[in-house]
Subunit: 335 residues, 2 copies
């Protein structure tokens, strides 16, 4: 006769213990440290657990061990194709280490970040902050509170994973210089974005090195609409080529340029940043600085696991290479 059991009933370690005829402690040991129990009891516990469909309640475990098995990922905008790629890599890497992922989208609202992180702190073992928009001071307040790895930004007490924007800009500028361009416009991203400042820094030194003019077209939202919005400013400027903070902005430029009949790359060359999927699919293809998004995600998880395992005194800084991908949107200067 088989025991009927309400499916909705949640099965606890106690049920397994009863069925296996052992104590809770033994069940716990049998499942967590199998070599601490006799093979026979282990078998009994395992079959009992399987029959009942037992899965430990990690919430209860976390109270004792202080380890939740979760990591929190905070990012400004999942609609920006850059982030899903990173998150996907984070996901798979985290799963490998038996971690689950909490996802929080702040919708580019800096004020949302800190409360979100606070609310999650007790539920996760550590945080991956992707391109955080909060101020340095706000974030520094979390130092020592929870293991944090920052992506696409550097803040002193935390380990970080960034792309080598400076080198990417160097490649981009060298490419444009070789094509004959001498006046480059830059369409900046969010003012609060560290990447934006980093890229601008790299761009400035690269243009200076080639003795080129840099026209800064002002900040805009890192979206297609943001690019569309500033396109006319770029056209009105003396620039013959434009580098955008990211691919979305670059595509927004494309849009408006096309609408106004401004030929790319004949009248103006365009370079983006990130190499999102779209970049290769538009016409002309978007020349862009590729960032190893999967590597960033993977490296971030690795760093986080390390910094959770042992308190490093010197926070690790991983800088990943960038690579200029030349497509149709850049061409020789016509005059």
């Amino acid at each position: 006769m088989c025991v009927e059991r309400s499916v909705a009933m949640t099965v606890t370690i106690k049920d397994v213990a009863r069925l296996a005829g052992v104590s809770q402690s033994s069940v716990c040991r049998a499942l967590a440290n199998p070599d601490q129990v006799r093979p026979e009891t282990r078998e009994r516990v395992e079959t009992a657990a399987r029959d009942l469909g037992y899965y430990p309640n990690r919430a209860a475990r976390s109270l004792i061990t202080g380890r939740t098995g979760n990591i929190g990922v905070v990012l400004p905008d999942l609609a920006n194709p850059f982030f899903p790629s990173v998150v996907k890599a984070i996901q798979t890497q985290a799963r490998r280490a038996d971690y689950a992922v909490f996802l929080s989208d702040t919708d580019e609202d800096p004020a949302l970040e800190v409360p979100l992180i606070r609310a999650l702190t007790k539920q996760v073992d550590g945080f991956l902050l992707c391109s955080p928009r909060a101020s340095d001071d706000e974030l520094k307040a979390f130092a020592g509170q929870a293991p944090i790895v920052v992506l696409n930004r550097r803040i002193t007490p935390f380990p970080s994973v960034t792309a080598d924007s400076a080198d990417g800009m160097r490649q981009a500028v060298a490419h444009l210089h070789a094509l004959g361009h001498r006046r480059i416009a830059y369409v900046a991203g969010p003012r609060t974005s560290w990447s934006n400042r980093d890229r601008l820094r790299g761009l400035r030194s690269a243009t200076a090195a080639h003795d080129m003019d840099l026209i800064e077209a002002g900040n805009t939202a890192p979206t297609v609409e943001g690019g569309t919005a500033v396109a006319d400013l770029v056209v009105a400027s003396p620039a013959t080529a434009v580098i955008a903070y990211n691919d979305l902005i670059a595509l927004g430029l494309f849009n408006r340029f096309a609408a106004r009949g401004i030929a790319v790359p004949e009248r103006i060359s365009v370079i983006g940043f990130d190499d999102i999927l779209l970049a290769g699919l538009v016409h002309p293809g978007l020349t862009t600085v590729a960032i190893a998004k999967e590597q960033i995600g993977r490296a971030a998880v690795e760093l986080l696991l390390e910094s959770m395992a042992a308190e490093q005194e010197r926070p690790a800084r991983r800088v990943l290479p960038t690579q200029l991908i030349v497509r149709g949107s850049t061409g020789p200067l016509h005059d």
Copy 2:
């Protein structure tokens, strides 16, 4: 004199109670049901909690209340731009109800879904399964175990949110018919995808209604590469127009068509499905059946919250409208 407190130390309800000079119970009440305590004690507790930076440990709470405040989202591939849009909507809607989101990407591996769901069950109050690839029977086994809402699929015991693919296909086919097309190819998505079967069903009845030929070009991965891979089959067929399971496949077709010099829409018209961001940015613009992705996400959360609140006997089925967006990739038949 201010009390120095190790920042790394996690602050519990006990600490707040001590500082406020009340019992744990009162702290709990003051924070959870403020009207059950005297205003004065409430104030004392609140300031103590603020000073200490106390945030309740939801894991501990969940043991008592049986409510984790988390929902689990499982999806096949975050790299497919359709899903981030949905997840973003889920996110914001969930946050409104004070829920956090667990994200799991199965990488299109049906075998990963069930274990993933199992592992998360104790940690979430309910699941949002986006386009699950597991078999009906596997998923049905979860009936009664955990509240589940299924997106882009219908499985009998669960509430579901789907798009009205049949109507979308009707619009697409009517559009093509009006343009003079009589032979349409369909590039199918994953065999395990319910949406794919649903769309195919809708397409069949729509073409039948217009007495048009339907050429089924076989299944392929729902990615750009998948589309590229079958593009030549489509060209070799007598079809003058092609409808793809989704936009990514359609863009893959674009790619290969462009490479072979096959003009869109002059030689062949192309229609996609989903209306991802890319669709409006490629050239020519991709005519596609738009799905209200944000609405899907929002509705799914609503349904989940409802089904967590009270056991519905009849699972709700929300079917959201679709809308054909006509862009440059479809045109009149040339012969």
